[in-house]
Symmetry: D2
Subunit: 333 residues, 4 copies
């Protein structure tokens, strides 16, 4: 008998990716996949790629979740607190939602609205000290997908004093699965294919999370919806503060990381190269004429940006090898 | 020390998928990845999704291949015979090319041209008796990608006498990776995105392979190039010969198969649901008005249509569990 | 002052394409674009490609429509009859819906359900005698998008006795705009990109329309949803009845047609080549081994499959040059 | 008899778009479409969307070009000077290449290499005074595609003193047709679909052109290759210098422009909305927290970014209505 895990909110895209990763994990046994509208339906009816997985969605409730050793919450923003409250204290929880990520209640209210649920250990293992903190926690707040992409690019540079924490400018494009599985006209294939368009310009809710995780003081972020199902490509620029080579800083920060690769000089990240994996690919340069360090970061928003990251955190919390059940190789082309 | 495997022709798309599967296989150790023009280059320079794989392409030659327990040949059509001849007799070989698939030398010459290299055991384990034949072989000819898709849909129905083997009509659309990695204008993204177009209408080289594998006597095949990187969707129609329900025939044929799923009644295959996996999804119906049985089959042309199938055959040849290192869950959405 | 035209149901994709064509038509003045839920909204809020068109959706009603010389109805199936009844008899009407296409009330009820509204002149000008009938009509039922694609490929061959009208087998893939603008999970970009999947296998409602227009007696049709916004590619196969060359038959049928092109021998239709135009591209061959004539037909489902066809019919009904405001050149790549 | 126009380099994507626009232009008669490797081939063999256009590529040479009233040069960078030298002085020329865009010979050599050919009137009619200068010129250097997109967003703000000309940060994603029609692995559909990747980071050759056209003193530009055939989306950020509302500045600059639309407040540009048209869509906001003005600009790289722009310039040079043969409505969805 392996470690008993459950997924609450398993009918969404991140939930589906969690089910796929759990099915391939050497130590995990799935004991429940819960859903709301789809409770009672076969999982394969919602996730056709899991056709060979013969299980049915349960309703989300305290009994089914507390029977697990670890629960992943993949619920809409604002719903995690209520469900987390139903889970026994002895059950570990990784929340893929935003509810417990921010330390600043004012920032929560400004960007998300409603009451602030609290603050859990932030689930980005590659940050300094984070690995140990996650391993010691029973409640972990997984990163946002944009936040993971941008923080991995920016945090070491600010920490090393290689760039100014002011006037960071980010443009980041995401595949459509990041917008979730709710049916809206704006996300129809007919509207998206062949199209690029920005949204939430300067107002995206991951801005305070990125500031908190990187130490950036001012940061302009323009999210763009891109015609692909998965992947985030973030272009992060900041002013250099000295002569530090940004590649050297990143190389040192991630030398021993299994999932973060600084690409060879001259190679730039491609989102497709990270699809289906827990990898993040980075490259950096300094544009001396423009006075900007430019770091480009790519990952799979459902992988290192959501479900893969969550499994990585769960592995740490459970004392398993951090890479168990996770791959660094993308499914490409 | 695990089983030593090598890949000849590892710089193509099927070769890259083999490398990915080998890296995740519990028993395989990659001892060589060979290439022609790219010999000496880092694998990651050609396959950016394998950025974390720190190996270099070797030149294809007898020494490097004969040091393996099993060699995968992922070479252009017509080149396998020469390379296979360089491999020691004691080394097992799975050829992903077409060179050794056909029993009929005349058909070979008509569809491929040049001298017929010979005939190896045909590598489709789900055919009756094939599993045992593959396990007993040291040389196996892997299926073509269209051939696998269409044969899995059609063979059981002809074998059961449920459809006529004459006047089979097939339209099958493939993602672009099936056309390989050579740069041609016709395969440019600019030309392909937003476009559907047929090619090799009535003249595709998989027609004799499909006839051989299914027993079809006459078969019209229209291949279509589709704007997606991976996946084949084949619509196979044939005239019913009696009252047999095609779903029942397929259900019985594949009841115990780990990689072939007959979907629940009313669900139709989606190529995306098989991406990155070794799965084949099937559905069938009878259109009584039109007098046609219609079977639709979907798989990943690089998975069950090439590299996944090859690993499945290799597992059998090596006495490993048939499913080792292979997944039935697609990477979707 | 030009000819006054109105569009009822202008907020859908076919409606949007009508507005675009009308704006570029040398003789048409748009007097009303009506909608239901969007009445009162700026047209550009729904159709961002019409940003430069400064008009507002009106509510659909008798006054606004009867003020026009000609009304296009681009309403959901089943709603045309009620709206058509509100339009003055002196106002010409082209209905892009299915309501008035079928002569057989039983077929209507079987495939669409509900009461049969009646039968109008069928709006495919390239059929023998159709051009004159349309010009003489005040009420015309525009073709379905699949029906136009398949009928243009098949009708001349059956009429010439070059193929049998029995056992016609069609597989036809459509871009997503053919499914309309209603938000459903199945049509989300995340689900569609990278995916091919069949639907309504053997049960599509255009089957009786195609039989009526071509004289086919039995016809198997498998529609496929393709990852592109526009375009239909139909592969139509039938058994040859004699020695007639299908290319010769098509060349003769369409020798003088401005919008239907039989491609040079060896060139096969590409949907992208017809995008945004009123063109239909055809190619044909005989697969002697398989005993099948294969005709492939491509058009833009919103162009020659809907709005372009409707404008072509309107031009005939109004005594204008048939090609006015229409192009034969696709917007490609 | 209309105005006689010729296209040199008509086999590329911009050349094909020119042919399409010329065919629909009310005053233009195409007298020659020249090519190099394709000379002698039917135009439709290279541009399948022009199947109905029954002409053949001529070889590029002085006689064929000097017989025209106006010649469009759509040649690879560096080849325009030689061909332009062959054209009679009385023939007007619009060059879609980069050869004559820059005033600074040093910048030319740094970014393009080779000898600087000279400087022609810069072909962006919406710049102050440009319309008159173009009308008075016989030689016009058309804008680069990125340059047009970014300049339309940025130039009025710098001119009005609303943003600082230093530390401009741009991330701009382009569809693949911008990379041309040469077959390279990197541009294969298999590699591009599902992928976003940057290229020429900080080194793109349009940087000096943008600085020249906008007055920006330092500008960081990260180009991104996006999985779509057409379209550029540029996110342009700069520091505000006062209290000017960037929307007001843009509204005033483009109030009377037929092809540049400042979208209603809250609507952001979508590349698909400009496809196939000569439109540019803009939106702007100020992110006070981040201290950045953000302008987003979208256009069709083959339309307003190349062939449409060139026709607009030609109209001015020929004394025709500036909008002749050009549309402001995109072909969408």
């Amino acid at each position: 008998m392996g470690i008993r895990v459950a997924v609450a909110g398993a009918s969404g895209y991140a939930g589906g990716e969690l089910l796929r990763l759990i099915a391939g994990h050497p130590e995990f046994d799935l004991v429940a996949a819960t859903a709301h509208a789809h409770a009672g339906a076969p999982v394969a009816a919602v996730h056709p790629h899991l056709a060979a997985l013969d299980i049915t969605f349960a309703a989300t409730g305290p009994d089914v979740l507390s029977a697990a050793d670890l629960v992943f919450l993949a619920l809409p923003h604002g719903q995690s607190a209520a469900v987390a409250g139903q889970v026994s204290a002895g059950v570990k929880v990784v929340d893929l939602g935003a509810d417990f990520r921010l330390r600043d209640a004012g920032a929560w209210q400004r960007y998300y609205g409603g009451a602030h649920a609290g603050t859990w250990t932030y689930g980005l293992p590659e940050l300094p000290g984070a690995r140990q903190a996650i391993a010691a926690s029973t409640r972990v707040a997984n990163t946002g997908c944009y936040a993971a992409t941008i923080t991995l690019a920016l945090a070491p540079l600010i920490a090393a004093g290689a760039v100014e924490p002011d006037d960071v400018v980010v443009v980041a494009a995401s595949g459509t699965s990041g917008a979730g599985r709710s049916a809206t006209t704006r996300l129809l294939a007919t509207e998206v294919m062949g199209d690029l368009t920005p949204y939430k310009v300067g107002t995206h809710q991951h801005v305070p999370e990125i500031k908190q995780a990187t130490g950036a003081r001012s940061l302009s972020m323009t999210p763009v919806l891109a015609p692909m199902p998965r992947g985030i490509l973030a272009t992060v620029t900041a002013r250099p503060t000295g002569d530090a080579n940004p590649r050297d800083v990143l190389a040192q920060a991630y030398a021993d990381e299994p999932f973060v690769s600084l690409l060879p000089d001259g190679s730039w990240p491609r989102t497709a190269a990270t699809a289906g994996s827990n990898a993040c690919h980075l490259q950096a340069t300094t544009d001396a004429d423009a006075g900007r360090v430019i770091v480009v970061s790519a990952l799979d928003n459902l992988g290192k940006g959501a479900a893969g990251q969550a499994v990585q955190c769960a592995n740490l919390m459970l004392g398993l090898p951090e890479t168990a059940g996770l791959g660094a190789y993308g499914v490409a082309p």
